[in-house]
């Protein structure tokens, strides 16, 4: 099947323009998407105190005792939201306190067996996860949603323009040719190979990013005065029944036991106390769910302990559809191998984005005569290369900064941003050749990552048995990810530097001939 000449030209322009405009944002989102996939493993990796796993995590916890420990450490503001999260790979419990008045979050980690409290060691996993949907920017989620939509359209137009040679595009790769053709081959091979996955990431990503906006529009236009699409499942309790303050001595454990009875054979994963010492406070108990099916939870009146609702999280067709979208996006429906496959395809998509920009540049302006194209070339190096180096720096800082440093987590993230900014400045410097800048950033990222891995190998204890604990497995998974990144960065850096050298050698005789001719 083949498009007509005019239709082909229109789709080609749409593909190229949308691709170039959204490329940088899409790269950040995809690159950090791999960290988002392995967020729970990174959460364990980032804090050495969590590396050792004591006992089974299935044991019953006393949430009353945990809450008392939190109150010893912090004065809980009225109306605060206190969330207790359990991880399969750790016996520590993460406590997140959200103050609705200041919109500030405080994170603590408590070891239930000893009552030991750990605070603010690192936010590496969370910051990289949030960067996946650019949460650090205002309207970040919406911006990421629009970028995902642009990527979705670029993928569809890519299919249309390659309808005529889709099968050939899957296997033809000629790295020995000029950059324009070799990058075009790489763009097509990786693009066609990962096409179903790219379409799925982009579709589900658009929905997840824009769901709040779409819900708002639907509520305003279709359901004025009704429940919002997010609350379509409804609730049993009425507002009048909920207006009661919560007592500080509330028997949380007894109520959580009641929730366990209501949802048997599932493990408690998250306990959320919403509205501390306030009228209408609610205790939410969230259980481990079945992927693509449900995520059951129970809501309890935090004053009386009465059950407000028992929900599967998939009551309405919209809930079920959203659940499927979420699980497809975050690969929660498969095991470790599926996550690895997602990670490989995601890095492939990153390469598709970068090679797409290269094709634009080599096809339209190989000598980079126009300032806009020079800017695009430098941006294509500064953002992806800078992000790779800054991420490597973030992992290195996580291991090198002293534990006693005040505001350690903030220092880590601040320095991560600073490394990215310095790398970008270096990449934009006109005196540095573009390929030297790209090669230098990739090589520096690789060196840092290998250094982190070396440190890990020196510090890591050999697994005690052939069946490692969940915590040990998490550490090895993250190390594997860092090794893959280090090897990939080294290969890219080497190729860029070699290209720069060969271009300089090729250019030398031409330059001397030109000089002779002019004289």
């Amino acid at each position: 099947m083949r498009l007509g000449a005019r239709a082909y030209q229109t789709e080609w322009s749409l593909h190229a323009w949308i691709g170039v405009v959204c490329s940088v944002l899409a790269f950040v989102s995809f690159f950090c998407g791999v960290f988002a996939l392995f967020r729970s493993e990174l959460t364990i990796w980032q804090d050495p105190a969590l590396h050792r796993q004591l006992g089974a995590t299935e044991q019953r916890l006393s949430y009353e005792a945990l809450l008392a420990r939190v109150r010893e450490q912090r004065t809980l503001p009225t109306g605060a939201r206190v969330a207790f999260t359990r991880y399969e790979a750790s016996h520590w419990v993460a406590v997140l306190i959200h103050d609705p008045a200041t919109q500030r979050d405080t994170e603590l980690w408590i070891e239930p067996q000893t009552g030991r409290v750990r605070e603010g060691y690192s936010r590496l996993a969370d910051e990289l996860y949030e960067m996946h949907f650019v949460y650090q920017l205002p309207f970040g989620s919406e911006i990421a949603g629009v970028a995902a939509m642009a990527f979705f359209i670029a993928s569809l137009t890519g299919i249309l323009i390659h309808l005529k040679d889709l099968r050939r595009a899957l296997w033809r790769f000629r790295p020995q040719l000029r950059l324009r053709f070799s990058s075009s081959d790489a763009h097509k091979v990786l693009g066609v190979f990962g096409l179903p996955f790219a379409l799925m990431y982009a579709w589900t990503g658009t929905l997840l990013g824009l769901l709040t906006v779409l819900s708002g529009i639907v509520t305003t236009l279709v359901l004025p005065g009704d429940v919002s699409p997010g609350d379509a499942s409804g609730s049993i309790g009425s507002e009048a029944e909920l207006v009661r303050p919560m007592a500080a001595s509330a028997p949380l454990d007894a109520w959580i036991e009641r929730a366990r009875t209501a949802v048997p054979e599932r493990l408690v994963q998250l306990v959320v106390l919403d509205g501390w010492a306030q009228h209408g406070s609610i205790l939410g108990v969230y259980f481990t769910g079945s992927s693509l099916v449900d995520s059951p939870f129970v809501e309890i009146d935090a004053e009386t302990g009465a059950l407000i609702r028992i929900a599967s999280g998939a009551e309405s067709p919209l809930d079920r559809a959203n659940r499927v979208m979420f699980d497809l996006h975050y690969a929660t429906y498969g095991g470790l191998l599926l996550k690895v496959l997602y990670a490989v395809l995601t890095y492939g998509t990153c390469a598709v984005i970068v090679t797409g920009n290269l094709i634009w540049l080599e096809r339209r302006d190989p000598a980079r005569r126009r300032a806009a194209n020079r800017f695009l070339e430098r941006t294509t190096i500064a953002v992806p290369g800078g992000l790779a180096l800054a991420s490597a720096g973030y992992f290195a800082l996580n291991r090198l900064l002293p534990e006693s440093l005040a505001q350690r987590a903030h220092w880590e993230f601040g320095l991560f941003l600073m490394i990215w900014a310095v790398a970008a400045i270096a990449a934009y410097c006109p005196r540095v050749l573009a390929r030297h800048a790209a090669g230098g950033l990739c090589c520096a990222a690789s060196v840092l990552l290998f250094a982190v891995l070396l440190l890990e190998l020196l510090q890591r204890r050999v697994p005690s048995s052939l069946s490692p604990t969940h915590a040990e497995l998490s550490l090895w998974i993250v190390d594997g990810l860092l090794l893959a990144l280090a090897i990939g960065s080294a290969a890219l850096g080497r190729r860029s530097l070699r290209h720069a050298r060969s271009s300089a050698v090729e250019a030398a005789p031409i330059l001397s001939t030109n000089t002779r001719t002019s004289t």
Partner: protein
């Protein structure tokens, strides 16, 4: 010179209909589906919300392909205006 200007304006119109027209038409049509599909309300809500993104993508890819941009805008406009009028009439109690 004139033909170059006409081509440029046509290109601009193509981009505008793809970037602005397509999402507006997709969102309005999705809302119309939620309100008027002959299924139960929760099912219509799910179908309507989840049809917005594919509809948006398909419109963005296909609207610039139409030979006449006037037809593209007419199609886009009708996909936006008809559901909005129907929703307004429903809100005002003129439609069930």
């Amino acid at each position: 010179m004139i033909s170059r200007r006409v081509t440029l304006e046509r290109e601009r119109s193509r981009i505008f209909v793809a970037v602005v027209g397509a999402p507006l038409a997709a969102v309005a049509t999705g809302c119309g589906m939620i309100a008027f599909l002959p299924f139960s309300a929760p099912l219509a809500l799910a179908i309507g919300v989840h049809s917005i993104v594919p509809l948006w993508a398909v419109l963005t890819c296909s609207l610039p392909l139409l030979a006449s941009m006037r037809i593209a805008w007419l199609l886009c406009g009708s996909m936006f205006v008809v559901p909005m009028i129907a929703l307004w009439m429903r809100h005002a109690g003129m439609l069930a």
